[in-house]
Symmetry: C2
Subunit: 244 residues, 2 copies
């Protein structure tokens, strides 16, 4: 799979109520960037079916590849499979292979609650990885990952291995003047080259040796270099401290 864009839905009351620090979203952002898969949107929602359905639907309207984190398990608050299935308009079914694995994992005597772990949206493909007995559930571009950070990372890495990203070319300028002094130049260039992503990030800590960082980013290097050249020409003399 070579995703055009991705989105993510982080599920869990524990995150929104500060019981657990959110780590999976930050890890996902880093790994997607390394891999060159653009992330368009991310959302944190409570353990409520309606909220999950809405968030997964929104995510799918923005991206062809959606990651969910959390709500996979045997207890009452593990409702991600149901929410994703509803968002996809598919019934929840028991997967025969997964059922065998669950029963095996529980030593041949799985309780009804344990067997919930074998329920998936219809049409799911299971992604297995050595060293974890439970697979990633993949259905229609939605990848259901566990919320426990160690497991999330392992499972995400399995999924990303099978994906192809696109290169990102990024260059940065560090300025010794404030944003208002360069805004009109940035405006002009951003308007003329809307496909190139230009960011402007002020910082107010005087111990750091610059006042604004300007980033220029695109999938090919030429437009990036072109924008950098234009910035160097048009920005006030002496404004640019360094280019990376």
């Amino acid at each position: 799979m070579k995703p055009i864009a991705s989105a993510a839905v982080i599920i869990g009351n524990e995150i929104l109520t500060a019981k657990v620090e959110e780590l999976n979203g930050a890890y996902l952002i880093r790994r997607l960037r390394e891999k060159g898969i653009p992330l368009r949107w991310m959302c944190i929602v409570p353990d409520e079916v309606d909220a999950i359905v809405e968030a997964v639907s929104t995510a799918r309207s923005k991206a062809d590849c959606v990651f969910t984190s959390g709500g996979i398990g045997p207890t009452h608050d593990d409702i991600t499979v149901r929410g994703v299935a509803l968002a996809l308009g598919r019934p929840v079914v028991r997967d025969p292979e997964l059922e065998r694995r669950v029963i095996h994992h529980y030593g041949g005597k799985a309780t009804p609650e344990a067997l919930r772990l074998a329920e998936v949206p219809e049409g799911t493909k299971l992604i297995w990885r050595d060293g974890i007995w439970y697979p990633v559930i993949h259905c229609s571009g939605v990848f259901l990952l566990p919320g426990v950070p160690q497991l999330f990372r392992l499972q995400l890495d399995s999924v990303l291995e099978s994906m192809e990203g696109a290169p990102v070319h990024l260059r940065s300028l560090y300025l010794g003047v404030g944003e208002t002094e360069v805004a009109h130049v940035l405006d002009q260039i951003a308007l003329a080259m809307p496909h190139v992503s230009i960011g402007s990030y002020p910082q107010f800590d005087s111990s750091i040796g610059y006042r604004v960082k300007v980033t220029v980013e695109y999938s090919r290097p030429e437009p990036v270099n072109d924008v950098i050249d234009q910035l160097m020409q048009k920005l006030p003399a002496g404004a640019v401290l360094r280019v990376e």
Copy 2:
């Protein structure tokens, strides 16, 4: 203001592309929890007007108090005011008091780009704080906060000072058995007392002295104690390692 629920919209390509680590969302989650203001939903969106309009509209459908982070400033990528105004169905206007402050801040000669900082959704109230020359823009329950973390924190604290939260009563059980062994008991109690929030959080690090943490939370202590008592009675003998 005594918010019933809050939601947040974090705005910035720099977050989604891993150029800047997201800190404001995590800080907001902690501070809202300390203050006793429930957070229902949080979203990270790119610097695009449509994405901001959609996210702010969704946030307002879930909460009476919405915080935005980022996209406040004089450059082309600072479009939060426009996005919020569109989400609220209000025009963007220049605030006379803010205009005076902007001109004063820039030593009497503000450029057109600097004057963008005086534009707000119509009907805005400005929240000033000593030590920062720029206010929080507040319009119809939406609080527009800057993305730079030091400023975000100062401004958020100004806003929260004027708000009243509700108490949260939380107790926790630590279990020595896995989730599948307790899922049916949790199910039963969660179903019978749907107003009380019951969470179940497994962990798989054997060096930590428990396997599942169960949290029980409500705005009054009696239902929390009631659920804890029921859990102690119904969970398998010896399953509970400790209660907090």
